[in-house]
Symmetry: D2
Subunit: 379 residues, 4 copies
């Protein structure tokens, strides 16, 4: 048995897992620091889509799984392993995301999912099995919910959250203070984008992982980015998830602000119509599928022109865009001014409307004529 733990910024548990693996019989245990790769090659490309899953979810868990599975497959190949295994349950999305990636990258891989495929009847069985085989199980009282953490977010589900009418416990959150506890003074922050990706906060150039870390700190201290959602899993059921994504939320609004100056109208509308599909593919575990890759090519092309700066006001849970600028802004104050002049002849507008309305006028005339002839007939 070879063990692999991915360091995606979730904290102490990475090293703990490595040690535990060696103590319980692993012949080798990998703990790879994937933080930069995670943000640069997974989070940021996904963010270029400005897509949300089911209107809200920033896909913090979904986007981590393909990278973890990719590394797992690479280690399996290096170590000559015949199979890969993961600890996801048989009811969630993660099993799909792990195994789909594994199959796509190494089609002859064997996957083992003990919690799903073996004869456990829930968590109690699992813990009994662990004790029986000398695998240490944390004795501290467990939180009455399940979490997944990485640099982009922490998710919470299960336990007390399974009642979708119940408010999440206040003490559950870790990355953000509550809006109530956030400072009474607003903070302004400027995020700079270059060719589609954020590159600086308040003028400080940062690597992808450093930038996301800083965005988390800033957003977190102002209570930004908590989301409470009932969502649809790929395996067919609805589940309730609560998320905190402080930096991701901040970057989402900053990006949309810069996009609003730099993206063409029709490009923006078309891309946003593809957003639900793109988000669905990421959520369902199809990161390495050809249809996600094809959409990514489109999204990356569109994102190329997203260069500029957004100014955000953060205050007690609110993340409000209050300014945006771009060196190649398509916003033209002269065009939009109430005064005449600029490169737009407003006398053209009446004609523009008439041609746009032509098909509706024809239809209305045809309908009126049909109506009239029906009335004649009925006389």
């Amino acid at each position: 048995m070879v063990c692999f733990t991915a360091d995606l910024g979730q904290g102490d548990e990475v090293e703990e897992a490595r040690v535990k693996a060696l103590n319980t019989g692993a012949v080798a245990a990998y703990a790879l620091d994937l933080r930069e790769e995670f943000v640069r090659d997974y989070v940021f490309p996904m963010f270029r889509s400005s897509a949300l899953y089911e209107g809200y979810y920033l896909l913090g868990t979904s986007i981590a799984r393909p990278l973890i599975a990719k590394k797992m497959v690479e280690i399996a190949q290096k170590e000559g392993a015949v199979a890969v295994s993961h600890g996801a349950t048989g009811k969630g999305n993660d099993q799909v995301r792990f195994e789909m990636t594994a199959y796509a990258l190494k089609p002859d891989i064997v996957t083992v999912a003990p919690w799903r495929d073996w004869e456990f009847q829930g968590r109690a069985d699992l813990e009994a099995f662990a004790r029986e085989h000398g695998i240490p199980v944390p004795t501290t009282k467990k939180d009455p919910w399940s979490t997944d953490a990485n640099m982009l977010h922490i998710s919470y589900e299960g336990g007390v959250l399974e009642d979708p009418w119940a408010e999440p416990p206040a003490h559950m959150f870790k990355l953000t203070v509550s809006p109530e506890e956030a400072p009474n003074e607003a903070e302004y922050v400027e995020v700079e984008f270059l060719n589609g990706d954020p590159v600086a906060i308040d003028g400080e150039k940062l690597s992808p992982a450093a930038l996301l870390t800083k965005a988390n700190e800033i957003g977190g201290r102002h209570g930004i980015g908590r989301i409470d959602l009932v969502e649809n899993r790929f395996v067919g059921m609805k589940s309730r998830g609560v998320y905190e994504t402080p930096g991701g939320t901040l970057l989402y609004h900053a990006r949309r602000a810069v996009e609003s100056l730099t993206l063409d109208r029709e490009v923006l509308h078309q891309r946003d119509a593809l957003g639900p599909k793109y988000a669905e593919l990421v959520y369902n575990g199809f990161w390495f599928a050809p249809e996600r890759e094809a959409l990514q090519v489109y999204i990356d092309h569109v994102a190329q022109s997203v260069t500029g700066t957004a100014r955000l006001k953060l205050y007690k849970g609110n993340c409000t865009v209050v300014g945006r600028k771009a060196p190649q802004s398509l916003y033209d104050k002269d065009l939009v001014s109430f005064e005449a002049g600029g490169d737009y002849n407003q006398h053209d507008a009446g004609a523009f409307i008439k041609l746009n309305a032509l098909r509706m006028r024809v239809q209305a005339r045809v309908a009126a004529k049909a109506e009239a002839s029906r009335e004649v007939e009925s006389v």
Copy 2:
């Protein structure tokens, strides 16, 4: 000349406009209370789509124009008028929305847009014309921006807002307090939906207009629903708009929460992919176009099952869903529980994944084989 003013809840100016019309030569002046019709037949049907224009805008001005134009055409027909006229500029969306509606409903109508079609060179010329013809012009110092108000929102644009980097002035807003000024205590509110529309707030059944009014009061006192946006106009330029939509924002999140329990996954994803197009049609003034009507039929069908209650926490600008319930909820706690049991056999999941991955495995095998044969060739 016959004058028509639509009362959509914008306040005193309705009656002022009627009186001013009669004083300046109108042979008749209509001021119609359209508040219930506006919310019931325009705002609520649009809300059923859960669509936003360009990610944020709740379409408060856009949705009012078709109703105003429809009534204008009806009055024109009743009064035997040969033409209709409006005061929109030649650079904005409203001219399109008014005239498109007029043409669609009465294809032989003549439209007159003095500000666009006559020889005014901006606002100063217009005011000179008014003084010359004895039309009273407000002598109070004008706000350095332009607004449009109705029950759903107030919009602000132009003047000091034309610099997209400049933060909107704090004293501009009317429907909402700022998050800073909002109460220090959170308020919880429950919104009940029946077959797609909100029908009660905190247990009180309300007519559409009364419900929106109450939602505005609640949202407004907690600073909910301010949006600052650079958006794309249908006539081709980008413009900066600032909006406050307190009740609409509250209802938007409440609806999505009830939808999350009651809409099927695939239906939700499909509908959301059509959202940008639907919002574009409303924004561009195509309310009475057959393509908007066809999408509405779809949206109305989907909305039929949206029955349930959302619980929201309002606090200093935040409008957070904290609970949702529905008599026919598709959420099934037993399915999602970490424990085994319920109507789901998790042993099925591995097979489900394998079939989903099949096409990717085939592709990976074919690619590997091609790679191998290229390597052989290059030896």
Copy 3:
């Protein structure tokens, strides 16, 4: 054991199946004539979409499965059966279509698919099992391919067709003559539609099933509607299918011709963009899924205005539209004439173009300015 055979117009084998069932131990054997229901409630609603699967396939097998499965479930309920069974293989789409329908209509149903779930290793095993259990197996030499027949089409797959480079054998086809054998004289046929469905051929009003039968005869004798396709199955592999759908092909082109006069441009384009999704849902077996039903509501609304007549020329495999007319045609000869006049002022067109081009002009100016400043910098 209760046996059920659906008569969808496939011919003698219906009664044969019923008798065989009783001879081999069935306590009851149903053979229901579903021809009118099939065409009226399944084929025609699907045709309203004008959708094709993967550009060509008219979904002749796909659309029959939900009806068969629905009846099977109804009989199971009536007879108190605890499970339903079908003879589809474990590699195709039909198992999905049958079982998906059964689960959707009766969620507690048990499904049995012997060919898939039992221990047969292919067709030879299956025939051995049949002989062993006294189930008569046709002794006539089998065709080296597999077929499925109903009123809408016959499909051919497997055997000699598994090589996608090999041309289908000429003697395989049953519903159509080859173009070579078709008459040397063209035949003209007129198809009349009323509110979205075909109702008459050459002036003769016919029931749905009678109309499709007649369309098959006419199309079949002129060699219309043979298709040879490699298609993508829902279970993940590509397969080769050959189809003959004479009447369906004829009705497809006739419908599109009437649509071309009666559907609004934007409605047509929007509906056609949804076509691949709709066809995918039908193909994959999601007929009774809420997302198909929601799209159907949209499609049915759009189809309401499809009333008119198409004139087709049939000649040796060609089915060419040569004329179309409609009582409420949106085609207006005066608008389109090269001569001036009609309800269209061509002076409006220049302005229409200018506003449509505005965003591109702005973008070109911005790009040129950026280019110029880069050149200055590099000096």
Copy 4:
């Protein structure tokens, strides 16, 4: 005045136009051979989409306009012209395509469209003007329709074709024989694609223009590619167009055949859902618009894997795919065979179906429970 004629393979009229220009006062007259550029950079990229306008039209005229306008703008810049002019009417699509391209490439261009913008009342006025100014007008009796010809197609519209119920005259067609006149012997042809574009016919490598020329000859002699359509113009009216596109039709079916082996299912379905939008953009004249360019990036990426050969049978108007092969075909005979084995475990299929059906089972259960409780209430 400088004159420019584009040689897109339409024949003698190119040189005639050049001479006529010089005779009537042009200071310079360009006649550029754009055939290779046309096919390589416009026709083939468009074909990569496998998109049709409104189900049928291969966009033969639409795709030529951007290239002509681009060259016109380049010549205008070179010659220092302040304006460009074209001879399109004020009712059609071509004025839009020419001027949209001109504005996109040179935003300060002035466009002049005499037939639209001057005071002509139709064709008679125009001919009078020409005679008055010594511009020769052909004295041969004109065809009672209008045509546009290039290497990809000939279009026919106007005149006797304005009645959409009237069959086009048999002697009108030029690129194709009628199916009746085509040979009594079928011909087989093989078309080879490499990375998305056709590169050889029957084993002969050909340049883009030479390949399309050969495809036209082959298709034309078998009567392939006549289309008769009522279509929707961008300026708002419906018009009737008849087209002959022999080579384009042949290449369309050949491409789809190779795609069927080489494109992933989900990629194919997604791309085809974007087809109507892409075709609309090309038809409407938005070739140089950023939204077309963004879609092209996607389409080009998808097309990269389209490498293989299609075998077609041509016979009296029929163009039927009878075989396809590809070096990296995703079709796997072992997977699809009725016999067991291969990389697919059919026991997985039942589980796959169950998880796909889960959301429908839940919904059916919820609906049944609601029904039951309604029945209880009504007792």
